[in-house]
């Protein structure tokens, strides 16, 4: 499985460790939310990067205390028609101010990629055998969007009313550095 991150294909150095397997001392790993909550102390003191893989029926707010320290949160699309992870991504970015990497995995269509980046997702694990050029083309299909989301991109509303300060009220940061890095 390759990783599409910030417009480039990259090797995936991370590994998900199942609940019944031992967490190795080194190597970047993600664990389930249950495991993170159960073994928090041990995992936090791990020298190598540790992230959390959220199931899409788990509440993102459960990571409120730890969002600032997690380098990676993985969000699942069990079927591409199941769009719960879009909301999870936005909660992590907008409510918890999460600045680390958000990665989508599972059954994904390239036609969803643009929406994923708008919701604050940085990277997708690509299904094997699918051409990647389509994903980058998908990001360019739209040059204007109505709604504010979690990517910090200028909306049609702001373009229509550039002098208006109202559209940026609110304390939570709207975009992580990693997302801003590949915002168009």
């Amino acid at each position: 499985m390759a990783l599409l991150r910030h417009g480039a294909l990259q090797p995936n150095d991370w590994r998900f460790v199942a609940d019944d397997a031992a967490v190795p001392d080194d190597g970047a790993v993600t664990v389930s939310l249950n495991r993170w909550q159960a073994e928090g102390e041990a995992l936090r003191s791990r020298a190598a990067p540790t992230g959390v893989r959220l199931k899409n029926d788990e509440t993102a707010l459960a990571l409120a205390a730890d969002a600032h320290r997690l380098p990676l949160i993985e969000l699942e699309f069990p079927k591409f028609t199941d769009g719960r992870a879009f909301s999870q991504a936005r909660i992590l970015r907008d409510k918890l101010g999460y600045q680390g990497e958000l990665r989508a995995f599972g059954n994904i269509l390239r036609d969803q990629y643009f929406y994923m980046t708008r919701c604050g997702i940085d990277a997708v694990e690509l299904p094997d055998g699918k051409p990647t050029e389509g994903y980058l083309a998908a990001l360019k299909e739209f040059s204007a969007w109505y709604q504010p989301a979690s990517d910090g991109r200028t909306t049609v509303l702001e373009l229509r009313h550039p002098a208006n300060a109202n559209t940026r009220r609110g304390a939570a940061p709207l975009v992580s550095e990693s997302v801003a890095a590949h915002a168009l």
Binding site: F80, E141, A144, Y146, R160
Partner: protein, 560 residues
């Protein structure tokens, strides 16, 4: 009406290009049908009984003459010469070819139209009141808000893969003509004690297999918070709506399972966190959109028009049509004209390309270029001078668009049914045709009075039969088409769901059964002033059961 600026036009144009690319990938085999289906549905393209079906959006039911002429062109060039208006004020074409759909969408984009989100598990066309801006009982025009919601919901990155479809309706008058109680979100413009207008928010209504009336979610929502509040409802639904069972996936199920009060509290909690964020509507944008809906330049006229009054006295048919189809306008000397798309023996809601062209001309000539579609599958010419009514009527009559039956039993609302739809169990259109022939005498229509009759070809209820005063539901019994009758539904402020009268009727029995129901009402009502639905509410099901099935069947529950 709203006119696209460069941003609206860009978004629609880029959508056409995107879909053109998706169709090419599909035809080249780069997308399987399973992958392509949700993508084509989000562009309103279904695969139906005979062919593909394209559902084109008519946002809050408003058309211009230019848009209507383009629809006529599409009917002739790409389809079979006619279109069908639906209960959500969209238009359907029944024979587009997949490889030509991107071209159709391109033509539509030229007149600021599209098929965006008319299907799929996303937010659908926002519907409003067909008399908006013209009605005498209007508190505030709901259409600017419908446009604001349309833009917010278009390609919403978070809410495009919902558990199921999502339908929003907005009303701004004392009389709810938008059926808000049977929508996923229903919004009513109301006034608080301080005289400010805001929204009453209803949530969790819907028809289909499990019909449920919406519950009140918030009594008064200040207008500048509309989008953040909708966001809160949608986020709650996106996260918690059921994904395991397509028949339990609507928000109405979530609201019922959670409990209305608890659901409202969850929405409030989410909303509190976001209400002062970027979705707080700037006044500048609210004003910008409202300017497009400023009243047209009306002439200053007397309320009574001598020509109209004289024509009424002289021409009985004209008088009858005026009484049935013409509605009071808030401006003196003007009238709202209902264009009946229910001619005797016709298909409810169908309009030929020739009729569309004529109606476009009539809109230009008589209605300040504006024409609308209603969720009862009729049309409206909203701003007609009274002195023009007779001339207009003559034109409509020649084109079979002047049947004097608005709100009467032959003003039938019907889904396309088994003649077109893969989901249907029975045909609905032939039943509508036979009923409209049976009840064609205008004097009979007058005598029966106000009666809403809705027909659905299957339990998905696209004909909204649950909210008909009389509802007919097509069912499959041993491979034969049968029809179940319900009584006592209503989609207005007295919203109610109809109850099944008893065993279903065969194709041959259904029209006589409806006739029996009508005879029972006429013979026993308290007088002409007692409407059918009021008579039913007073006497209940028993008189109808007795008349239909015999005296012994009264006071027993429905056989099926």
């Amino acid at each position: 009406m709203y006119r696209y600026d460069e941003f609206d036009a860009t978004i629609v144009q880029e959508r056409v290009q995107q879909f053109r690319g998706q169709v090419a990938r599909r035809l080249a085999g780069e997308l399987t049908e399973d992958e392509f289906r949700p993508l084509r549905l989000k562009n309103g393209l279904y695969l139906q009984l005979h062919a593909y079906m394209l559902r084109i959006a008519i946002p809050y039911g408003v058309l211009s003459s230019k848009k209507l002429r383009k629809l006529a062109y599409i009917a002739r060039r790409y389809d079979r010469g006619f279109g069908h208006f639906t209960t959500r004020t969209n238009i359907q074409f029944h024979w587009p070819q997949l490889n030509e759909v991107p071209d159709i969408l391109q033509h539509l984009a030229e007149v600021e139209m599209h098929s965006i989100q008319t299907s799929g598990n996303c937010i659908r066309n926002v519907t409003a009141d067909q008399f908006a801006g013209a009605a005498a009982d209007e508190i505030e025009d709901p259409r600017p808000w419908a446009e604001i919601v349309r833009q917010w919901s278009t390609f919403h990155p978070e809410f495009s893969y919902l558990p199921r479809k999502f339908k929003i309706a907005i009303t701004g008058a004392a009389d709810d003509r938008a059926a808000i109680r049977v929508h996923d979100i229903g919004l009513r413009i109301v006034q608080n004690e301080a005289g400010e207008t805001g929204f009453e928010v209803w949530v969790g209504g819907g028809l289909g297999r499990i019909p449920i009336l919406a519950v009140l979610c918030r009594r008064f929502l200040p207008k500048e918070h509309l989008l953040s509040y909708l966001d809160a409802i949608l986020r709650t639904y996106n996260l918690l709506g059921r994904r395991d069972n397509i028949h339990k996936a609507r928000i109405k199920i979530l609201v019922q399972a959670t409990g209305g009060e608890k659901f409202a509290a969850m929405v409030e909690e989410e909303w509190e966190k976001i209400k002062d964020g970027p979705l707080h509507l700037p006044q500048a944008e609210v004003e910008r959109i409202h300017r497009y809906f400023a009243p047209p330049s009306y002439e200053t006229l007397a309320e009574i028009d001598a020509e109209f009054e004289a024509a009424r006295l002289e021409h009985r048919d004209f008088a009858r049509w005026a009484r049935a189809n013409v509605v009071k306008h808030r401006i003196a000397g003007y009238a709202i004209v209902n264009v009946s798309l229910k001619p005797e023996g016709g298909t409810p809601g169908d309009v030929s390309a020739d009729q569309m062209d004529l109606l476009a001309d009539l809109a230009d000539r008589f209605s300040l270029n504006e024409i609308r579609v209603t969720h009862h599958q009729n049309m409206v010419l909203p701003h007609v001078r009274k002195r023009d009514l007779y001339a207009l009527w003559q034109q409509l009559k020649a084109a079979k668009l002047a049947t004097p039956n608005l709100g009467f039993i032959s003003d039938i609302i019907s889904c396309p049914g088994l003649d077109y739809c893969t989901l249907a169990n029975a045909r609905s259109i032939p039943v509508a045709q036979r009923l409209s022939r049976h009840f064609s005498d205008p004097r009979k229509l007058d005598e029966i009075g106000e009666l809403r009759l809705n027909i659905s070809g299957c339990i998905n209820a696209c004909g909204h039969h649950h909210v008909g005063h009389i509802g007919i539901l097509g069912v499959d019994k041993h491979g034969q088409e049968f029809y179940q009758v319900t009584l006592g539904g209503s989609s207005k402020d007295d919203a109610a769901l109809g109850k099944i009268v008893g065993a279903s009727f065969s194709e041959d029995e259904i029209v006589p059964a409806i006739d029996t129901i009508i005879q029972t009402y006429l013979a026993n009502r308290a007088g002409r002033g007692e409407r059918f639905v009021d008579y039913y509410r007073r006497v209940g099901m028993d008189p109808f059961k007795e008349a239909l099935y015999g005296p012994a069947t009264a006071r027993r529950p429905a056989a099926e």
